[in-house]
Symmetry: C2
Subunit: 136 residues, 2 copies
């Protein structure tokens, strides 16, 4: 070989470039059905029904909650405006939280950020409904 | 420069190597809060409450639904066994579906696979509650 050090460099560079390509392919072909997840879904109804100010405050509280490290992902939502007989669009704000395990959700319940959220914002809501789900 | 072509190669290779590193960093530091998403959450209660056979049939139906192309992601769930006053764990099966847009969810409602699901499996449930959410 004329220039072994350069050949070696090219080999290494090729490997490095192949890694992300494999990663991208894995993302594209992943199954749509999520597995190995704990889903914590909460719907809030405000004491002051229809109060935009109170809704904004509650959203602000949930934005703080989103910083809890145990959370895998979360979503702060509003009713989508899909009036159908089976759709309950009467809630003010929704909070969807994904955890890796049930144990993580248990720990989240007593996380200081979560406790502070309840302390600071629970006066805003009149009703909370929670649905926790694990893989079928 | 002694060897401009090699310098040029190294420069290009470095860029190529940096791309995946940036990609990896983006994944690690991405915000936990999901955005630009339409969330369709459904809870089913069975006519034959507690029937494992009927629950399995319904899950089988949802597994077929998971093939609808408009779905971004979905999850088929069961109550997680988290008894608290605010938790409703009385449903039999949950179905969480993510769409890119409200229009995609509208199209999903009339997708032949969805229509066939309602046709073939709706005799199993006594109650369905749906919550649709968009970003707050």
């Amino acid at each position: 070989m004329k220039n072994p050090s350069r050949r070696s460099f090219i080999k290494k560079a090729s490997v490095a470039v192949l890694v992300p390509l494999t990663g991208a392919a894995a993302i594209e072909t992943k199954p749509k059905t999520m597995k190995n997840i704990f889903i914590h879904q909460v719907y809030f109804w405000l004491k002051n029904t229809g109060s935009e100010a109170d809704r904004s405050k509650l959203i602000e509280g949930l934005q703080k909650m989103a910083k809890i490290k145990l959370l895998k992902n979360c979503h702060i939502g509003l009713p989508a405006g899909t009036p159908r007989e089976v759709v309950d669009g009467s809630y003010a704000v929704s909070w969807l939280a994904f955890f890796k395990t049930k144990a993580d959700q248990d720990a989240y319940q007593v996380d200081p950020i979560h406790k502070k959220f309840v302390e600071d914002y629970s006066h805003l809501w009149s009703k909370v409904v929670v649905y926790d789900s694990v893989d079928a």
